[in-house]
């Protein structure tokens, strides 16, 4: 195995997640695509990984890599897992396509100790959905599809997401944004400017001891 070349080619968000994960841990990647992240984690961090992926191509590619991947989706299949089955649950860029984001977020922290959620911004997201639904590479950024050809989604801003976590009593332990050139910047304070320039954001979440709305939390 050529870890060096793997290291060079890994996607910035995958690399970022790999840095967050403890070696040898158990991890579930929801929307794992072709299994690239799971393979990276198995290779570099000896992670015992499982995946859920909706597309046949993605599942086949993953299974071909020797990964354990179930064809399914986050809205229906998370309920199958026992409590605390995983150390980490990763939800990568799929939140806006989920029918019940609220229920899924709660499920993430039921079956996993720590949830890692990445939120794409709308433009990036449109490209990714395009890839998922059409099976082609996204059009170059800026040359977006006309509105009537885009998939139907529920736009979610970073601010929306932070508010929802607050309502559900979910702690945001860490928050990182990756800009369009793959540069990482870390946030810990307010989200005031996040929507303006974040290409995508990666959140590390855990359950608070109490689920009551934390009134003492700093406002974003």
């Amino acid at each position: 195995m050529n870890a060096g070349s793997g290291r060079t080619s890994a996607r910035p968000d995958h690399r970022l997640i790999a840095e967050l994960v403890e070696p040898g841990s158990r991890l579930l990647d929801i929307g794992c695509g072709d299994g690239a992240l799971l393979e990276l984690l198995a290779r570099e961090k000896s992670v015992d990984g499982r995946g859920i992926e909706i597309s046949q191509e993605g599942v086949n590619a993953s299974v071909r890599r020797g990964l354990s991947v179930i064809q399914g989706d986050a809205d229906t299949d998370l309920a199958d897992y026992p409590e605390a089955a995983f150390d980490y649950v990763v939800l990568s860029q799929t939140l806006p396509a989920i029918r019940d984001p609220r229920g899924v977020l709660l499920e993430l922290l039921r079956i996993g100790r720590i949830a890692i959620v990445s939120i794409p911004n709308f433009g990036h997201w449109r490209n990714r959905l395009h890839l998922l639904t059409r099976g082609r590479m996204p059009a170059p950024r800026g040359s977006g599809e006309p509105w009537y050809a885009t998939p139907q989604i529920r736009p979610c801003t970073i601010k929306d997401f932070v508010m929802l976590c607050r309502e559900l009593g979910i702690a945001i332990d860490r928050r990182t944004q990756v800009d369009s050139r793959g540069r990482v910047r870390r946030f810990s304070g307010t989200g005031r400017f996040a929507n303006l320039f974040g290409e995508q954001a990666v959140f590390v979440l855990s359950a608070r001891s109490s689920r009551t709305p934390a009134s003492g939390t700093k406002r974003g």
Binding site: S62, R65, G66, S68, V69, I70, G72, D77
Partner: protein, 386 residues
């Protein structure tokens, strides 16, 4: 009835072994069976570490001839596309075993064979068997062959049920398991379909309470009807529509009679006719009954997940979109139970309009999935490439 074609050939071809001399097979019904014969075939070579064995389990009407030509029909084997050099179950790499199921009629002890206590065919005196009994018999075969652990246990339909039972009964003997197009229990509709087949056989006056061999009769009519009814459940409506539609058979107009006007009718009649040439009516009763009785969760406090708790077996579950005998939700229930014990499982629903029989047919996505899964597992198991 003249001695059947199957009876004539099974001594001439293939392997068989007599098992249960010292320790008989303790059947679920409480009866001890032994000695008994298990007929089987092998393909490929067992490696020095005995770590490359694959046991394939056949479906209701299948047998041990995974790769053809079949000794009775002369046709290709039932999993010709899956097994052989370069196939997903690569015989250059794996040692593939398939045995005729207990209760079957291709050489393994079943109702057609002679009951040593009476010197006459068993008929309905043969004990009712279960999927677990079939698996116990196979485990005795592996003991005989000196194989401690299977690299893979696999099969479709009833074969998939056996694969599930294998992991439940002998988790440490299954490195991987690939149950295809199956279920952890037989549904009410499926019991009903099997019951129609049994009633068709038992309503045939030539069945003679199962003693047709001795009495020289042949419940071929009933068995053919049973096969026809079952065959419809193996195909999807779109597949039938594409294959036959309302096309007439060798005629330009309907005949206003009860001949096979439509191609689908003559196809079905052919299915029924060719089946009776290679299958035993009583075996059909016994094996359908074993399938009806299958309800893996029932043996584990009603919780399917408990059947797999602690198993380190790596699973690959495959279903087909148009399978209405064991539809995807039934397969997904297995995946769900495995997830509930955080087992190692992959799952693919293959898009196909070919119905339940898709697992026997040319489905590239199934081949690709299996190839990938087996290669990954083989690398972990330290099995070299072909």
């Amino acid at each position: 009835m003249p001695e059947s074609a199957t009876a004539r050939v099974h001594e001439q071809v293939g392997l068989s072994v007599e098992l249960g001399h010292e320790t008989p097979l303790e059947l679920d019904c409480g009866i001890s069976l032994g000695p008994f014969t298990l007929a089987y075939q092998t393909y490929g070579t067992l490696n020095a570490e005995r770590s490359n064995a694959v046991l394939l389990c056949h479906a209701l009407t299948g047998d041990q001839f995974v790769v053809g030509p079949h000794p009775v029909t002369g046709k290709p084997g039932w999993w010709e596309l899956m097994v052989g050099p370069g196939r997903p179950f690569d015989t250059d790499r794996y040692f593939v075993i398939c045995s005729n199921a207990l209760g079957g009629c291709m050489g393994t002890t079943g109702p057609k064979e002679i009951n040593p206590e009476t010197g006459r065919p068993w008929g309905l005196d043969f004990p009712v068997i279960t999927i677990r009994d079939m698996v116990k018999a196979q485990a005795m075969l592996l003991d005989h062959l000196g194989i401690e652990q299977l690299f893979c246990i696999s099969g479709g339909s009833m074969g998939g049920m056996q694969a599930l039972q294998w992991v439940a009964s002998y988790p440490e003997r299954c490195y991987t398991a690939v149950p295809i197009a199956c279920a952890a229990k037989h549904s009410a509709q499926n019991i009903a379909l099997n019951e129609v087949g049994r009633q068709a056989i038992m309503a045939d006056p030539e069945w003679r309470e199962g003693r047709y061999q001795e009495l020289g009769t042949n419940p071929a009519g009933g068995l053919a009807v049973a096969r026809m009814a079952a065959h419809i459940s193996y195909l999807s409506e779109p597949a039938l529509q594409r294959k036959f539609g309302r096309t007439l058979q060798d005629r330009s107009n309907v005949t206003y009679g009860f001949d096979a006007d439509f191609q689908v009718e003559s196809y079905l009649r052919h299915q029924g006719q060719s089946f009776v040439e290679r299958f035993d009516a009583n075996s059909y009763l016994y094996i359908t009954r074993a399938i009806d009785y299958f309800d893996l969760a029932a043996d584990y406090e009603g919780v399917l997940a408990n059947a797999f708790r602690g198993a380190e077996t790596r699973f690959c579950v495959i279903s087909f979109t148009s399978d209405w005998l064991y539809p995807t939700p039934e397969n997904r229930a297995i995946v769900r139970a495995l997830a509930a014990v955080a087992a190692n499982v992959s799952f693919v629903e293959v898009v196909s309009d070919k119905g339940h029989d898709a697992f026997l047919l040319d489905e590239p996505d199934m081949f690709e999935t299996l190839r990938g899964f087996l290669s990954g597992a083989a690398a972990r198991r330290g099995l070299g490439g072909p």
